[in-house]
Amino acid sequence: MAPIDRQQRRASLLRRAWRGIQIPLLAIIISLIIAAIAIIVTADSVPVGLQKVGRGYWGILDGAILRSSGRINTLVAMTPLILTGLAVAIPFRAGLFNIGAEGQFVMGALVGTVVAIYVPLPPVIHALVVLLFGFIGGGLWGFIPGFLRARLGSHEVINTIMLNFVAIFFVNFMVRRPIKDPNPSTVQTLPILDTAELPRLFGTRLHVGFFIAILLAFAAWYFLFKTTWGFSLRTTGLNPNAAEYAGISSKRQYVISMVLAGGLAGVAGIIEVQGLTRVLTEGFAAGYGFDAIAVSLLAVNNPIGIIPAALIFGVLRIGGDFLQIRAGLSIHIVSIFNALILLFVAAPAIIRSVFRVKVETVREDQASLSSGWGG
């Protein structure tokens, strides 16, 4: 009896795994097809368009996966995507929509960079302290909308979007004036001190930050699903009234989730500085905070699922450059992918009606976001 039982269990596990990935998989396939159509329609002729699609898509595969430098670049691009993805997923679980990862990312980078340049500390400790300040910078920027939502009921969607603009203007100001490298030919900060850098591995661009990101994804999973705080947070997301009735303060959960989210996005920002750029520049954010929304939704807001989801978007990001180099296509095609994947993952009913298959939904415990502007 026992082996059959085990076999059955394995089969049902496989079935569950397949159910988990079939929507994202079909979403990616449809998105690739629609984007191909968009490329062909905007090309000079259909054959030219087909050629562009072929070259472009092959470029993505070749440039981001097949060659070893591409694989490294993909891992490097995954790092901020994992962390900002978590910054969207955690508030999602509490029933909040954080569109502000972009701003939290740059604020974390700013605060951390200041400590990395102007506060000399011994090696290792310095790098860790800088990471911590990255968390604080982003966390503060997440605290503002969390607090406003909890105390005054003003909606985090508007506030996080507005804070993105404020953060980007503020960082531009800082980089252009108070903490600018005195060298007049550049608009960036001084390089961070050696002690604050994150070591690179195997003589490549891959840095320790990648492993920090993976570790934090597991930590976030543990936090959400294995701790009392995580339980309270998820309960609030599912039904704030029931949570209140059970003695959980939903307001507290709003603040906690936004501070954690902002902190993780801030860590993403400072890791980019410590591991890669070593300076802070204008226009530093580069859209990671927005890709993060698609990453998180593709992963059904599961911290572990965010790792493969970040891989897919890492491939698209790195491959996006090859769209341009190999096929002369604009990088904006990647934004179209993002939008479509988001659409099909969020609305599996569309996939169901396109493929006429019985696709089972996996939104086992999704929180509803648009419950109104009143809080």
Binding site: G153, L342, A349
Partner: protein, 311 residues
């Protein structure tokens, strides 16, 4: 220059006139949100709808040389984006905030791609220009009010007229009553024979047309050409204006004027007081949005955000 001199040279008729002009897309955008949200569908896609219409209007007017064709195409693209939002959130019952986010991303991607393919040299035939200034005879001669209100380009006037029309439609016609009923209590509305789905579809699409007009203002009335992400958050500021105005047209119009004034002052201060860092002045409208969306406790339509299931 002491502070009084600065204030005197900042608060001029020109500043207020500029405020009315820059309030136009905010007001139109908030009316787009009004139609959608009063019928119960959250709309954070105003930004994307505006951006798409701005690009389409510039594209079509550039290639045809006709501003009228540009307006039509811009309105059409706004309406189509509205229809997309409606289908995804009403038919497929997707979370309306996610549906809006999809539209914003899609608009950013599509407009960016088309900009790079068609709206830059060597292909770009050049802009068809902007609408001419059309001072209204007699009214423009009224002291102070004349130059502030009656020496504008056409979409500004259109916005002023639309404001009054929406107030009338919303509060004094069967259409407006149905819209509000569906937004407050769809089940009850359904019982009374109102078609909830039709009402929501129609109003979200009308909202798309209005967001389209806001986008057309950007390219055909203000700048003259399209630029990547040129909406710069105006769609979200419009949403804040709607909330601050408590989902009424006059309220939203007042809030839009406030943002227009903040923007106009910001532009004036940049030239008059270069010692204030420009970045801080540029932040002002966004900070104001946060304050404005926070200080007034909003009372949204009761059924907002909930997909309706006839069941």
């Amino acid at each position: 220059m002491d502070i009084l001199d600065v204030l005197r040279s900042v608060f001029t008729v020109t500043t207020f006139s500029l405020a009315v002009a820059t309030a136009t897309p905010i007001a139109l955008g908030s009316y787009a949100g009004l139609f959608s949200e009063r019928s119960g569908v959250v709309n954070i896609a105003i930004e994307g709808m505006m951006l798409m219409a701005a690009m389409t209007a510039s594209f079509v007017s550039g290639y045809t040389g006709s501003l009228a064709a540009g307006i039509l195409a811009g309105l059409l693209s706004g309406g189509l984006m509205g229809a997309l939002h409606a289908v995804v959130s009403i038919k497929y019952k997707t979370d309306q905030i996610i549906s809006g986010t999809v539209i914003n991303f899609l608009a950013a991607g599509v407009t960016g791609h088309i900009y790079q393919v068609y709206l830059v040299p060597p292909r770009w035939p050049g802009s068809a220009g902007t609408f001419p200034r059309m001072p209204i005879p007699f009214l423009e001669d009224i002291p102070i009010l004349g130059p502030i209100l009656f020496q504008h380009q056409p979409i500004v006037y259109l916005m002023l007229i639309i404001t009054v029309v929406i107030h009338y439609v919303l509060f004094s016609t069967p259409w407006g009553l149905r819209m509000r009923a569906v937004g407050e209590h769809p089940q009850a509305a359904d019982t009374l024979g109102i078609n909830v789905y039709f009402t929501r579809y129609a109003n979200v699409i009308i909202g798309g047309l209005l967001a389209g007009l806001a986008g057309i203002w950007l390219t055909l009335e203000w700048v003259g050409s399209f630029n990547i992400n040129m909406t710069n958050g105006r769609g979200f500021i419009a949403l804040a204006a709607l909330i601050f105005g408590r989902w009424t047209p006059f309220g939203a119009f007042g809030a839009a004027l406030l943002f227009g004034l903040a923007n106009a002052l910001q532009i004036r201060f940049q030239t008059l007081m270069p010692q204030i860092p420009a970045e801080f002045l540029q932040m002002a409208p966004y900070v104001l949005t946060i304050i404005v969306a926070t200080v007034r406790r909003p009372i949204p339509p009761a059924a907002i955000g909930q997909p309706y299931d006839k069941g």
